[in-house]
């Protein structure tokens, strides 16, 4: 019995003398592996011009569709990126991203990579949609104005056309509009645009596809 006690205490004492494994997160953070896929970074060339040309290939490659790019034409006197085209808006919905890295692979200019940052929790849902200003490498002469994510972009829950006087969202209104006099009956074959060889159609194909 004494023997077991000694053995147990010995184990306890050796553990007490070892360096602790615990990291005081978030004050302390361990370095990640070099190829870790964390939050994205938009890079710049050495002269400060953005690498991103707004080609939307990352958005096309993204399996979950969480990237929103809106391109625009460069002003040759004051270009944002080399060439004719740049990304006016660039947004990623980090809540939807699965950190697969396809976007980085698709990018023709190596503008986007997945960086080391992994502490991405936020108190507000909207903040998890990161805009170009947050994603871009900082650069002394090229500060980006920080604005909110676009209402139609990567994190959009609104499906609105610009409404100077916003009320209920048009999507809701659209559905409501069709049910004023009760639900419309399913269109019958032979009806306006419904082919006769289809037995029944339950939803007019005209609805928004998003």
């Amino acid at each position: 019995m004494i023997k077991e006690l000694v053995l147990g205490l010995r184990f306890t004492i050796t553990q007490m003398l070892r360096k602790p494994l615990t990291v005081q997160y978030p004050e302390e953070q361990k370095p990640v592996f070099p190829r870790h896929r964390g939050r994205h970074i938009l890079h710049r060339y050495d002269n400060g011009l953005e690498r991103c040309i707004g080609c939307e290939l990352c958005a096309a490659a993204c399996p979950v569709g969480c990237i929103y790019v809106l391109a625009a034409e460069n002003d040759p006197k004051n270009p944002v990126s080399p060439g004719e085209r740049y990304a006016e808006r660039y947004e990623i919905n980090l809540m939807r991203c699965i950190y697969c890295g396809y976007c980085a692979e698709a990018c023709p200019t190596e503008a986007i990579t997945l960086g080391p940052q992994y502490d991405l929790a936020e108190y507000r849902r909207e903040r998890t949609v990161v805009t170009k200003a947050e994603l871009l490498e900082s650069w002394p002469r090229f500060a980006q104005a920080r604005g909110p994510a676009s209402p139609v972009g990567a994190g959009a829950d609104s499906t609105a056309r610009a409404d100077p006087d916003p009320g209920i969202s048009p999507r809701v209104a659209w559905d409501a509009a069709e049910t004023v006099h009760g639900a419309p009956e399913a269109p019958q074959p032979g009806d306006l645009g419904v082919p006769t060889h289809v037995p029944t159609v339950t939803e007019p194909e005209s609805r928004d596809r998003r």
Partner: protein
């Protein structure tokens, strides 16, 4: 050539085999089309379905048995017993070679190219091309990028593959000859004569004709990728010709109109007025809230149900105090058939007034005869008489059809003054068995005289270019004081648009019911102002803020043409469907529901089923020609049906 099998009679067809698949096609078919019929794809650049073959790009070379050299499929006519091979190692090598050659000096800037994603050069390189080039990328010859050819069209000289399609488009389709190729060899460039900007009214077709990203729209520059666009089949809202188009939208805004080939209507060519008209449908200047603004009392925004109830009360008050004919109803040539049908039923059956119109002009003596000539039938007429410049100004794509009739089919096109002397026209015509007479709404009486005079020479068919996208539908469905749906005679005494406004200004008409954006109404100017001021109640279902909306005593937001379901009818009576491409800007029920709810408030029975589909069903029951037209067919009127 192989012997023709003796069992096959000569039926104008020939037997060919392509990659071992046998088929019989009509004589004169191109190898390209015969292969397409079998589902065999042959890559093409210079060939275009609407143009004559030139065989300059050599992309379509195929092997044909017993021919010493490969032949262009786009310019070789099938012969009986021909054996074509498109999948041999030889053809594969030719294709790889052609693509490597085309990409020799190509900038390969697909990531910034507006055509990326819908580019034939990209697609065919991906499908048939070599995976690497033997030419160093650093030695490419460069040319200018983003050269403006006009305010609409931009040319990237490096991306051009010299297929000649743009040059031939101007030669063969519009006849304007505005683009040429200059220089020779690797220095060949597409350009305009003397660097003049393009002046054609059909430039917008160039980027669609160009197989690559050399010619692009300025208005679509870097706007979107094709895979981000949400495509809705639609009808051009600018005129009554009814050109089919695709509405491409992104983020709930229309980003471009693209052609949607309907050989019977626009034959895939759109005019610039229509093609570049899309920004106005993205406008945020819209009527968004229902409002009640009694003449005596406080104006306020309300819920749509309340507004409809208020409208019914005002109408009932006028009917009680005066009579139903103290109410004037104005429809619009920009509404769908379903809305117009409901509106005229509301006016005639529920309110009980005969004062209904959609325009200011008079349409006395209107018959379906005015619209007997179909668009595609223009090519079948021996001779065509166009009265004045208005028809072609109103419906510009008509010009291209006339050009095709004249130059491809050898028809005679006479453009005469809008009030040309009928006897003179007849004299100038020569012999003809079928003549088309094309006029617009303002000289339709004169067209009758010309047609009557011409009738001595042979059959005559008339076309009247109506105003407004659904000007024809408004007439077919009886939104006129003198005809009921289907051109049946209406009981007399109804006032036309101008008379309604005059009566309202004079205090004889006490209430106006106005639906839809109505350009014709706005042209009335000062008369409209007086009418709107004097009328006791002005009930308006309108999309745009403006004179009419601000004078409304009851205002209900309407849905614009790209926000609703329905049909519109073009000048030849083709009933075509419109579909919602955008969510409605106003959060109210669709216009058909508003009209039906108003009728229900006025005590009408049987108006419950008021979604556009149900209204369409009712419309087809009431107007048999529309039932026969279905969706996409022509509503044709025979004499007995009109009677």
């Amino acid at each position: 050539m192989a012997q023709k099998p003796p069992t096959q009679p000569d039926d104008g067809h020939v037997a060919v085999s392509i990659d071992g698949h046998e088929t019989r096609v009509p004589k004169g078919t191109l190898v390209l089309d015969a292969a397409a019929g079998l589902g065999i794809h042959i890559p093409i650049y210079c060939a275009h379905p609407k143009m004559e073959p030139v065989a300059v790009c050599r992309m379509c070379l195929v092997h044909i048995e017993r021919f010493p050299k490969p032949q262009p499929a786009c310019a070789t006519v099938v012969a009986d017993g021909m054996a074509v091979t498109t999948d041999s190692a030889e053809v594969t090598k030719i294709r790889e070679g052609m693509l490597e050659f085309l990409l020799l000096n190509h900038p390969l800037d697909c990531p910034v190219c507006d055509r990326g994603g819908e580019c034939d050069l990209q697609d065919f390189t991906f499908r048939y091309g070599p995976s690497v080039s033997r030419f160093p990328i650093t030695e490419k010859v460069h040319f200018n990028k983003a050269v403006p050819l006009s305010e609409h069209i931009e040319l990237d000289q490096e991306r051009c593959i010299l297929c000649w399609r743009c040059v031939r488009y101007y030669d063969e389709i519009t006849g304007e000859k505005e683009i040429v190729l200059e220089q020779r060899g690797v220095q060949t460039l597409v350009t305009t004569f003397n660097e003049q900007p393009l002046r054609s009214s059909f430039q917008g077709n160039l980027p669609e004709v160009c197989p690559v990203g050399a010619l692009t729209h300025r208005q679509y520059r870097f706007v979107s990728r094709p895979w981000d666009l949400q495509r809705t089949a639609g009808v051009c809202p600018e005129c009554s010709y009814g050109c089919n188009l695709n509405v491409d939208s992104r983020d709930f805004e229309i980003r471009r109109f693209a052609s949607r080939d309907n050989p019977l209507v626009e034959d895939m060519w759109l005019c610039d007025r229509g093609r570049y008209s899309f920004p106005k449908w993205n406008s945020t200047e819209r009527v968004r809230r229902p409002a009640v603004r009694p003449r005596a009392g406080r104006a306020r925004d309300t819920a749509v149900g309340e507004a409809i109830a208020a409208a019914a009360n005002e109408l009932r008050a006028v009917i009680d105090a005066h009579s139903p004919s103290a109410i004037g109803v104005m429809g619009s040539a920009e509404s769908t058939n379903e809305e117009l049908f409901l509106l005229q039923r509301l006016a005639r059956d529920v309110i009980g007034t005969r004062n209904i119109d959609h325009q200011l002009g008079s349409f006395d003596g209107i018959t379906s005869e005015e619209h007997a000539l179909g668009i595609a039938e223009i090519e079948e007429c021996d001779a065509l008489v166009v009265l004045g410049v208005e028809p072609e100004e109103e419906a510009p794509v008509l010009t291209l059809r006339l050009f095709k009739a004249q130059h491809k089919r050898g028809r005679r096109v006479h453009r005469v003054a809008r009030d040309a002397d009928p006897a003179g026209v007849v004299k100038a015509m020569g012999a003809t068995t079928l003549t088309g007479v094309i006029a617009d709404e303002t000289n339709r009486e004169h067209a009758v005289l010309v047609a009557t005079a011409l009738a001595r020479k042979g059959a005559v068919r008339r076309m009247t270019v109506t105003r407004g996208v659904n000007g024809r539908g408004a007439k077919d469905l009886g939104v006129l004081p003198n005809v009921l749906p289907g051109y049946r005679a209406a009981p007399p005494g109804g006032k036309n648009g101008r008379e309604i406004l005059e009566a309202a200004a004079a205090g004889a008409i006490h209430a106006l019911l106005i639906t839809g954006p109505n350009a014709a109404l706005e042209r009335a100017g000062e008369l409209l102002d007086r009418a709107l001021q004097r009328a006791e109640s002005v009930i308006v279902v309108e999309t745009r803020p403006g004179k009419v909306a601000s004078a409304a005593t009851v205002l209900i937001p309407g849905h614009a043409i790209f926000e609703k379901l329905g049909t519109v009818t073009n000048i030849e009576g083709r009933v075509q469907r419109v579909r919602p491409a955008l969510p409605p800007a106003a959060q109210t029920p669709s216009d058909t529901r508003v009209l039906a709810a108003l009728a229900a408030e006025l005590g009408a029975k049987g108006w419950e089923r008021s979604d556009p589909m149900s209204v369409n069903r009712a419309l087809r029951e009431a107007v048999p020609a529309y039932a026969e037209a279905g969706s996409g067919g022509r509503a044709l009127w025979t004499a007995e049906r009109v009677a």
